[in-house]
């Protein structure tokens, strides 16, 4: 019974992790983290402004469906 409970708990944790990762990707938080990593910067107003500047035009070219 305990093994089953642990199994379910691990599966639930994994599912939550994936859901959070998906939301972070959809909401561009992951893209910002990659930008910081690539540019060797830490999160700040300036680095976020630089990220938006680099990211915005590419994002705005993406069509959204009807």
């Amino acid at each position: 019974m305990k093994r089953l409970f642990n199994h379910v708990l691990t599966a639930a944790k994994n599912a939550c992790g994936i859901l959070l990762a998906t939301l972070r990707e959809i909401f561009d938080e992951a893209a910002y983290a990659r930008f910081l990593n690539r540019a060797g910067m830490v999160s700040s107003s300036e680095s976020y402004a630089a990220f938006r500047q680099e990211f915005e035009e590419a994002k705005m070219r993406r069509p959204k469906c009807c």
């Binding site: 990707e25 680099e54 993406r62």
Partner: protein, 680 residues
């Protein structure tokens, strides 16, 4: 799992699906429970995914888990990025799920729940999911190339040019229709208008928070923005009850149309979109949350469908839009069954994120199934209403009359009883002055959604709040598409104009930005204005035009897919894309013929122009005549162009199959994935 058990499980799913589909299809007379639709959909999707997509993946596409994808080969941390398959799935679904699968099924519910449900299920499993899946895989094998580029490479220059023109046309018609839906939802609605107006300062606050207080914490700020939007919905009821404030936020349809055009231009041409960008996140947050909530609400409430399986309007005399069940049911519902627009997403961002070829099945086929499920929910939301109420909301004044008593009497005479008192009570319950003549599908969907939510979460007292929540959700969603779509179209026009005069192609050159923004807004604004001034409500003309152009793009996508399959020497399996292609050609060409030449003036653009020309002449009539002729010309041009692509594709197919032409594909060369080595 051992084999007999697998057979047993799938046998049970198949049997359950057959019973559910049979009940939905054959039950007549008594209303049925919405859960039958849910079970039918779940079984069809499971079987389609497990067996049909499995067959396509194995026999036709030969998905190769050892072949490196562009995300791996060209990884740059920006566009090309190896990403978890579930994350790509969510990302892809968020990009393809727009207002289409919500609005189309609501409008098509005038035929009853049966035609829409059957088309959504069969269309998705055999056409829409297949299109999204194969285009995604073919793009992955071509370094993430777009549909336009693939059409040019595999079919020829005509294919590329037509795909480009079709995309621009769809964008413009879509933006015009989408704006009209917002106008019809917000006209004479101070509560709704106030809520939507409040999203602008909320977005600015979110922007300040994102930049100054917690840089990059988008999820956090979206949750905060959502709470503020809920507060704005709550506050809207006090605005609607306050004389001066209610007057300030009450707009006529033409006034709202002008405001939306100004908004579209500003969002495209001025740097205000930097401030409004957080609204995009807010819209996505609300969209995903609401779809999930609606699914839960339907299962919890499992409501009864009051709309009959088939209505008398299958004969083409429907008040919501005119035209017979074939072909109009099949172009009215595009996004929930098959949408050419999805091919743009499947050949846009998504192929650059796929880690393994084998994942294209889950992302391409699977995400479209999820989109189709959203369309099933929209059918349920429309059909839980009493049919009389559904028709009172969706019928234009030009068909049922302006006065409440006249409209109620007309609708009741069709066999769908409704009284002016019923409509008044409903309008009061949702906090509106009136719900008559609210064409466009959004208000009807909002009433259905409010019904489901209020009966499963919060009771009748929250009906008005849920209604305005639904209106806010749809309007916010559509306005985001309006500003994003205007910019995408502007970039496309700038790219093209750059070939003629270089500075026009520079996206930072202000004269070019202003000119192309004005061009795009002027184009969709023209369709919007035409819809606002149309005595038949606008949707009657514009939604079929949008459906035709969207499915003509799907025709181009399926031509590309079939050409590649034949070039892959898999001609014996080409039916998987060829049959949906033939169906779409039959549907779109028939619909186009009807929209241009049908003798019924409610259906055919040219016959409506003739009827108007025979009547008393005035400036307004002359404009209506011109608009009808323009709509006919737009339809004709699109059909001619797609005919050219079809002819070019046929030439390719016969050339290859007869051996006269070499089957040369433009695939990227095979490179072994490093993941295979990592795993040993």
């Amino acid at each position: 799992m051992n084999k007999p058990l697998v057979f047993l499980v799938w046998g049970v799913v198949a049997a359950l699906g057959a019973v559910a589909v049979g009940t939905v299809a054959l039950h007549r007379g008594e209303p049925i429970n919405a859960l039958w639709l849910v079970v039918a959909a779940a079984c069809c999707y499971s079987l389609g995914y497990r067996f049909y997509s499995g067959f396509i993946a194995k026999k036709i596409l030969a998905l190769d888990g050892l072949r490196a994808t562009p995300a791996e080969r060209l990884e740059n941390g920006r566009d090309f990025l190896v990403t978890n398959k579930w994350v790509v799935f969510g990302h892809h679904f968020a990009a393809i799920a727009g207002p289409g699968p919500l609005v189309g099924p609501v409008l098509a519910a005038q035929f009853g729940y049966l035609p829409g449900t059957m088309w959504v299920l069969a269309g998705a499993v055999f056409a829409g999911c297949v299109q999204d899946f194969v285009i995604l895989l073919f793009s992955v094998r071509r370094d993430g190339k777009s549909l336009t580029e693939m059409a040019k490479d595999e079919i020829g220059r005509v294919g590329g040019f037509v795909a480009y023109v079709a995309v621009i046309s769809i964008l413009i018609i879509l933006l015009g229709v989408a704006a009209l839906i917002v106008v019809n939802a917000l006209k004479a609605s101070p509560w709704g208008t106030f809520t939507i107006a409040m999203t602008m300062p909320i977005a600015v606050l979110m922007g300040i928070y994102l930049r100054r207080i917690r840089p990059g914490k988008v999820l956090e700020v979206s949750a905060l923005g959502f709470v503020l939007v809920l507060a704005a919905i709550w506050g809207g009821q006090y605005v609607s009850q306050h004389d001066a404030l209610a007057r300030a936020f009450t707009f006529s349809a033409p006034a709202l149309a002008i405001l939306i055009m100004v908004y579209g231009f500003a969002a495209s041409a001025l740097p205000v979109w930097l401030l409004l960008a957080p609204r995009d996140y807010l819209s996505t947050f609300v969209k995903l949350g609401t779809i999930a909530l609606l699914a839960v609400g339907i299962v919890v409430l499992h409501p009864t469908l009051h709309m009959p399986a088939l209505t008398r309007f299958v004969d083409g005399t429907g008040p919501v839009f005119a035209g017979k069940i074939f072909p109009f049911a099949f172009i009215t519902i595009a996004c929930g069954a098959i949408s050419g627009f999805h091919a743009l997403i499947s050949s846009g961002t998504t192929p650059k994120l796929i880690a393994r070829e084998t994942q294209t099945r889950m992302v391409g086929y699977g995400a479209m199934m999820a989109e189709s499920a959203v369309a099933v929910m929209a059918i349920i939301a429309a059909c839980v209403m009493q049919p009389g109420i559904y028709f009172a909301i969706n019928s234009p004044a030009g068909v049922v009359g302006q006065a409440p008593a006249t409209a109620a009497a007309t609708i009741s005479s069709w066999g769908f009883p409704v009284t002016a008192a019923d409509m008044q009570a409903l309008a009061h319950a949702v906090g509106e002055q009136t719900l008559y003549n609210r064409t466009g599908g959004a208000p009807a969907f909002a009433v259905g959604m409010a019904h489901i939510f209020s009966h499963s979460l919060g009771g009748e007292t929250l009906m008005a709040l849920w209604y305005h929540f639904a209106i806010m959700f749809e309007a916010l969603f559509i306005l985001t598409i309006l500003d994003a779509g205007t910019r995408v179209a502007r970039f496309m026009v700038q790219d093209a104009l750059g070939h003629i005069y270089k500075p026009l192609g520079r996206t930072s050159w202000y004269p070019s930005i202003l000119a192309t923004s004005a061009l795009i807004v002027g184009a969709w604004g023209y369709f919007l204005w035409q819809g606002v001034k149309d005595p038949l409500g606008g949707i009657n003309s514009l939604w079929p035009l949008f459906g035709i152009s969207n499915q003509l793009l799907a025709t181009v996508a399926l031509c590309v897919a079939t050409t590649i399959i034949i070039k892959m020497h898999r001609a014996k399996y080409a039916a998987v894309t060829l049959v949906p292609l033939m169906w779409l050609v039959a549907v779109t060409f028939t619909a186009s013929w009807h929209k241009m030449f049908d003798s019924d003036p409610r259906v055919g653009f040219l016959s409506q122009a003739r009827v108007l020309a025979a009547g008393p002449a005035s400036g307004a009539t002359a404009r209506l005549i011109f608009n009808n002729r323009l709509d006919a010309a737009v339809t004709g041009v699109l059909v001619v162009m797609v005919t050219l692509v079809l002819a070019e594709s046929l030439r390719q197919w016969f050339g290859i199959l007869s051996g006269a032409r070499e089957a040369r594909m433009k695939e990227s060369p095979f490179v072994r994935t490093r993941f295979a080595e990592e795993r040993g």
